[in-house]
């Protein structure tokens, strides 16, 4: 039986070896994919930090708030402020037009008298509080006609702007304005209490934050784009084995070789085991090549190095079981599909869908609630979590055990369905 298994593996390897196009898909394309994606993502980060994004600023305020906004935007380093186009000073209409045409990504319109009105509003509020304590004199109390309405800083975004960029800008501006408001309140209190020359309030933020990252031997493990990209795209490539594997099975049906194999005294399990072993070997080689690219090639491309120190065996474990899951899916698809035209597009599309819902492209936490539940059915999600456990969360075999068990169960289930379907089909 072992000899039959070995001969099946040998046959599968020979078939792959003679299929140059297939080999390119299996080994070269994943490497091209992983290098391209990481370079693009890394350069996107760089372009954000190195190339300044021009933003339009229309300042009708000309006060302390607009000055603070300008100072903060300049200090940020990611933006360059544009207040004139072709030498003509911007107004709200021209700024809006330029943004909606896609010439600029963002315009900020600071309304007239914003600084003055904010100060008046703060003065009113502080006076109200202090008069409640009997601290302030009647000369400073508010008159009814002095009510200040809510002001708004208007933002115009190019409709093509990514939501993440929009949200980041909105929250940054919101933070700036809150700071200005807080500082104004502190300052007004000091002025009202007659302590202008001797500050009684510390205006620095009391609460700061510090990111605590996992450590190994007291050394912090800082996640970078490579630590995310290599496992995610390796998994994607591993699952792409579904396409050549299902085509291989469909071909056997078309060529008639399957008839010969069914009429031979060899258990179907041996034939499946032979294919599984061969394609699993391919998956592991693919994975090691991609890891090697992360470790040895990325530094030459000015990318961060993939740190796998002390983790390679655990990563191989995840790759092994992910490979099994992919192979099970490929065998099932090959068994059910009748033609290449069915298996190849379906295989490719389903892998892309599994990757999408599995969190390879968009993190699961950023998905809508329903999709977060759906993501749990994707074997790529299990594999990805296991890789992140190993690479980013410093997890051990115990932490990745549940994901590994799920991947193994997926393999067993798909293979069982394939065998039962094949048996049923033979009874027609």
């Amino acid at each position: 039986m072992l000899y039959k298994f070995w001969m099946t593996v040998k046959k599968e390897l020979l078939l792959l070896q003679r299929d140059f196009g297939g080999l390119v898909i299996l080994f070269v394309m994943p490497l091209v994919l992983i290098i391209t994606i990481t370079l693009i993502q890394n350069s996107a980060f760089k372009s954000l930090s190195e190339n300044k994004i021009p933003i339009l600023l229309v300042d009708y305020d000309n006060g302390s708030i607009s000055k603070t906004v300008k100072d903060n935007l300049n200090k940020n380093g990611s933006f360059s402020i544009v207040s004139k186009i072709h030498g003509i000073k911007l107004n709200e209409t021209s700024a809006k037009e330029a943004v909606f045409k896609g010439e600029y990504q963002l315009a900020i319109i600071i309304p007239e008298k914003l600084s003055v009105d904010l100060q008046t509003k703060v003065d009113q509020n502080v006076n109200k509080i202090l008069s409640g304590f009997g601290v302030t004199d009647s000369a400073n109390t508010i008159k009814n006609g002095d009510v200040i309405g809510q002001k708004e800083v208007r933002l115009y975004f190019d409709p093509a702007t990514q939501m993440t960029f929009k949200n980041a800008v909105k929250s940054a501006i919101d933070k700036m304005i809150s700071q200005i408001e807080t500082q104004s309140i502190y300052k007004t209190f000091q002025d009202q209490l007659g302590e202008s020359n001797n500050p009684i309030f510390d205006q620095k933020s009391f609460i700061a934050f510090k990111e605590i990252v996992p450590t190994v031997n007291n050394k912090e493990i800082l996640p970078n784009s490579v630590q995310h990209n290599v496992p995610a795209w390796s998994l994607f490539a591993i699952f792409f084995i579904v396409v050549p594997l299902s085509i291989n099975i469909v071909k056997e049906k078309g060529q008639g070789t399957q008839i010969r194999l069914i009429t031979n005294p060899v258990p179907y399990a041996i034939l499946i085991a032979g294919k599984t072993a061969t394609y699993l070997l391919i998956c592991l080689i693919q994975f090691l090549l991609m890891v090697a690219v992360g470790v040895y090639i990325f530094p030459f491309l000015d990318l961060p190095v993939l740190d796998v120190s002390g983790k390679i065996m655990l990563m191989m474990n995840v790759a092994f079981f992910s490979g099994l899951a992919a192979i099970g899916f490929g065998i099932l698809l090959g068994t059910v599909a009748k033609t290449h035209e069915q298996s190849a597009p379906f295989g490719a599309t389903s892998v892309v869908i599994l990757a999408a819902i599995g969190g390879v492209w968009v993190p699961v936490f950023a998905m809508p609630k329903v999709m977060q539940y759906v993501s749990h059915i994707s074997p790529m999600n299990w594999g990805l979590n296991a890789f992140y456990d190993v690479l980013l969360r410093n997890g051990s075999i115990l932490e990745i055990l549940p994901e590994i068990i799920f991947l193994l169960l997926f393999f067993i289930t798909t293979i069982t369905i394939a065998i039962l379907y094949d048996k049923k089909k033979r009874a027609v």
């Binding site: 000899y3 040998k10 060529q255």
Partner: protein, 251 residues
Amino acid sequence: MTNSIIEVNQLYKKYKEADDFSVNNMSLVVEEKEIFGLLGPNGAGKTTLLSMLCGLIKPTSGTFAINHLTYDKNANDIKKIIGVVPQEYALYPTLTAKENLMYFGSMYGLKGKDLNKKVDKTLEYLGLLKFSNKKIDTFSGGMKRRVNLIAGILHNPKVLFLDEPTVGVDVQSKNVIIEYLKELNSKGTTIIYTSHHLSEAQDFCTKIAIIDRGKIYAEGTPNALISGTPNAHNLEDVFISLTGKELRDAI
């Protein structure tokens, strides 16, 4: 005295989407060492019957036994004693003739030097030894047919099923194949064979069943069938007389 090696008893087969039975109450007996021809027009039910006997599909009802064994109890034992030569070139096109044969031989439990020797000897007999290391997709139709045949007989099967083994090949290849099959038969292999070549079947088969619409219309030795049909001079006359001149395009 002869022994039966295949016994088919009231066999029926109806495919899911078909209106009629492909095999409709067929019963027959094949004796050991016979060359049994299943002849019939397109869609007569020859390949369906052969597919059931090879264990590729299950009958709708009825029973059959091969060497007194049945698939539901002794599938593996049956598979060990039968050889199958399908109508398709059931070979891997990107593997060489030898690689194909070494693989399929190994699936029958043959291995090592014995298998290697057997493959070379058979390739030589069928005029293919010098092409043994060439890929199948470079072979002509006749060469592929011969390799296809070898893949089904490497393990010296007791019963050999052949589905149109000479279709689409030149006269030379056909002769080589038929001669080799006769030699196999002389060594004790029972052959069940389907064909559209009636003159080939007349010379080759020891017994023939003429099938149409899933039923056996006549059964006997070629000579008995010819002499038993009025105005028949050959098997073709018998065939037309029994199955008619109507076209049989089947889907």
